[in-house]
């Protein structure tokens, strides 16, 4: 208890500044920063003052904010002006030019069926003869394989997907039949509508296949040959052969320039032994 009291008295003395502890601590006040540190700090302080931090007309955050706001305002005005001067025209969907499917086969199937179900009543594709779908399917399988072996393998391989795709088409047809029959109040005709729905799907598929053939034809012979030559150059012999065969089917009478494509001529000679070699 007496100790505590003594400690408190000593502490009060210390706070008043008359303690021998402070005297001892202040006894030796040697030390301090090195001269190098002194020099560095003073130099930094001077250079900070001499450097004009906001001297330039566009320097400094404080000036950047109003400038940004003004720029945004000008851009908005310009956009409004352009909109008034050139009223927008409705955007047309881009035509499909490539025969190679870019999305997955499932997406592709869903897209075909979905589109068919929507457009069935307003379908503009002309009816094809019964043999046409088969013929077109054969050509389509070739053209799919032809332009790009990578996409060709994608398109050719998914045999297991045929079942889900078929089921999806059936479901769509069923849905169509239910809706149509339900709307017309004649449930006994559901079967007829279902058949009609399937026929519409087939029609739409036919239309797409013919589009693809046109798209493949659109690819110029020259570009195609250049691609094949590039594949040969990259030692992709198999792919080049496949492409060359597809090319010959699409352009059976095209004369290949032996000066420009000597390697293709050689490949052609391998594939078609009867053809003239360079």
């Amino acid at each position: 208890m007496a100790n505590q009291k003594h400690d408190q008295q000593e502490f009060d003395r210390y706070l008043q500044g008359s303690s021998p502890l402070s005297t001892t601590y202040q006894h030796n006040d040697a030390g301090g920063p090195t001269e190098l540190t002194d020099a560095r700090i003073l130099a930094a302080a001077k250079s900070a003052v001499n450097k004009p931090s906001t001297g330039s007309p566009f320097g400094g955050y404080q000036r950047m904010v109003p400038t940004s706001i003004a720029a945004l305002f000008m851009l908005t005005l310009a956009a409004v002006f352009i909109h008034d001067q050139f009223p927008s025209t409705p955007l047309q969907p881009a035509p499909v030019l490539s025969s190679a499917p870019t999305s997955s086969p499932e997406d592709h199937a869903a897209a075909v069926v979905g589109q068919t179900a929507l457009n069935e009543s307003v379908s503009t594709s002309k009816p094809q003869p019964a043999s046409a779908p088969l013929e077109l399917a054969r050509v389509d399988s070739q053209t799919r394989a032809a332009p790009d072996p990578v996409t060709a393998s994608k398109a050719a391989s998914p045999a297991p997907l045929k079942e889900p795709m078929h089921r999806l088409q059936q479901d769509t047809a069923n849905a169509y039949a239910d809706t149509s029959a339900g709307a017309r109040g004649k449930p006994e005709k559901a079967e007829q509508y279902k058949e009609k729905g399937l026929a519409a799907i087939e029609e739409s598929k036919t239309a797409r296949l013919s589009d693809k053939i046109v798209a493949t034809k659109v690819r110029s012979a020259d570009n195609w040959l250049t691609d094949i030559a590039a594949r040969l150059k990259n030692q992709q012999i198999k792919q080049a052969k496949v492409e060359l065969q597809a090319f010959r089917k699409n352009y059976p009478h095209h004369v290949i320039d032996p000066k420009r494509f000597p390697e293709i001529i050689r490949l052609l000679a391998e594939l078609e032994p009867g053809s003239p070699s360079p």
Binding site: P20, Y25, P33, A48
Partner: protein, 185 residues
């Protein structure tokens, strides 16, 4: 001429572009600030680095400087913050003593107290004191060093270290008692 200005006036002058005002401020503060950092870290090289950082931070912050408190409080708060950053980057993080408001007096081990028979010179006594300071828990050590090197009040020390006055007073009391007993004062 600049000697007549207060710290705050000098800092304002420096803010407005007077480099010589900074020199004056630096001359006033370099010694105690360096000593505070060196005795707090116990390492000269680290103290040198922290010391330089504190002044560099002050130089960078000069344009935002407003007189809201005394310059002394301002610069020592910067130093304290830099010190805490330094501790945070250490393996053990911020020392426990900064989190403990109840200070464990008994857990502290006294440095060998000087026996009454021993007669030590002033220089020796100072070295013993330095060792004793080094063995204090960091928070208590800082309270003592701030008091000794700045002469600030308990409220100002509390403000610098971010604690209430009672905690600051308690830390200082424990530190003073331990040091006094070590030196047999």
């Amino acid at each position: 001429m600049l000697q007549q200005f207060t710290d705050e006036q000098l800092m304002l002058r420096y803010r407005d572009g007077d480099a010589s005002a900074f020199e004056q401020l630096y001359t006033r503060y370099k010694q105690p600030l360096h000593r505070y950092l060196q005795h707090q870290c116990g390492n000269k090289a680290t103290a040198e680095e922290l010391f330089q950082d504190v002044w560099m931070n002050l130089i960078r912050a000069r344009q935002r400087y407003e007189v809201t408190a005394s310059f002394k409080t301002f610069i020592y708060r910067m130093a304290h913050n830099r010190l805490i950053d330094h501790y945070r980057k250490q393996r053990h993080g911020i020392p426990r003593s900064y989190h403990e408001d109840e200070i464990l007096q008994n857990s502290w081990e006294f440095a060998d107290p000087i026996s009454p028979e021993q007669t030590v010179s002033g220089q020796q006594q100072w070295h013993i004191l330095l060792q004793a300071i080094e063995s204090l828990p960091e928070a208590q050590r800082e309270a003592f060093l701030l008091k000794e090197n700045t002469g600030l009040s308990l409220e100002e020390i509390a403000s610098i270290t971010g604690v209430n006055s009672e905690t600051a007073k308690s830390r200082l009391r424990y530190a003073v008692n331990k040091l006094r007993k070590t030196l047999d004062l």
